[in-house]
Amino acid sequence: MMLTCKEFARLVASGELADLSFWLRVDARVHAWLCRHCRRYRMQIHSLGPAAERAWASSAADSARTDALARRILEGIVQAQRGPGPDASDAPVGKDGAEPET
């Protein structure tokens, strides 16, 4: 049975397309080739990430502020480690080879 537009859209937006069997992927490709609405839909879904990334990039890229935050974090951690007092350097858990299976 031929893939419907609704099913095609679901596969694209959920990311399930990649998990499909070979023939179903072929089916999806053929569907997209025949249906311009679905092609447009797929293109739009795939452009959401880049659009959001560009939109957010400007607000996150305040390097002075970011550097200040990094300093704050490092200082905070160093202080927290010194905090407990002289026993802050309690026996480092050295061996790491044997990890229990979970």
């Binding site: 419907t4 537009c5 609704k6 099913e7 859209a9 679901r10 937006a13 959920s14 990311g15 399930e16 990649a18 998990d19 609405h37 679905c38 447009r40 839909y41 797929r42 739009q44 879904i45 795939h46 452009s47 959401l48 990430g49 659009a51 959001a52 990334e53 560009r54 939109a55 957010w56 990039a57 400007s58 607000s59 996150a60 970011t66 935050l69 990094a70 704050r72 974090i73 490092l74 905070g76 951690i77 160093v78 927290a80 480690q81 350097s89 480092p92 858990v93 790491d96 990890e99 979970t102």
Partner: protein
């Protein structure tokens, strides 16, 4: 089309954990420098304002150091950090937000198709050349009351480019669950930008 399937490689994290346990300040600096920007960006993408995002980022690293002794090196440092971040974001966003069982977007999606599964209202063109500021406020507005997990799934998958396996670990959900979350949030966003594209006369 396959662009969404190329994953970004994680910065080298071999041996970092072991050195962290010894409290090596250089390694500490390295971890903070390698991951901080990504963590901060994800926190903001998940809907926190800049100040709250910074606080949450800081808290994430503090917790990371605290629990790094228990970290078994099974998962990547990044997966571990994002897992901590996710819990902190959920706490920060919890106030006044109730988890809805039924997502309104489901109905919207239904309404776009006929019973036979063909398009009833086909997608209209979306103008992605709008000013970034315009897109930013549209995205913010439309994600405003989206569930935290959905937002975070979108940020991790489509902005940070993590693999579905890694995101499933971070959010502690099944593959199917993640699929449903991505399906809803991507459609929500797409609907949003579609409406914007028509309003702005370009």
């Amino acid at each position: 089309m396959d662009a969404a399937e190329t994953y970004r490689a994680e910065p080298e994290s071999e041996g970092i954990v072991e050195k962290l346990r010894c409290g090596d300040p250089e390694v500490l600096r390295e971890v903070v420098e390698s991951y901080m920007t990504q963590i901060l960006r994800a926190a903001m993408g998940a809907g926190l304002d800049r100040q709250t995002a910074e606080d949450v980022t800081q808290a994430t690293f503090v917790t990371f150091i605290e629990v790094s002794r228990r970290f078994e090196g099974r998962s990547k440092v990044r997966t571990f950090l994002f897992g901590i971040l996710y819990k902190k974001i959920a706490e920060a966003r919890r106030a006044g937000r109730k988890q809805e069982r039924v997502d309104a977007i489901d109905e919207t999606i239904e309404s776009r198709f006929r019973l036979d599964g063909s398009w009833q209202r086909p997608p209209r063109p979306v103008d992605l050349q709008l000013y970034d500021e315009e897109i930013r406020s549209a995205i913010e507005g439309c994600l405003e009351d989206a569930p935290t997990a959905q937002r975070f799934a979108f940020v991790l998958r489509d902005v940070e480019g993590l693999s579905t396996e890694e995101i499933c670990k971070i959010l502690d959900v099944s593959r199917t669950n993640l699929g449903v979350m991505l399906y809803r949030i991507r459609n929500r966003l797409r609907e949003c930008l579609e409406n914007l594209g028509v309003r702005g006369a370009r």
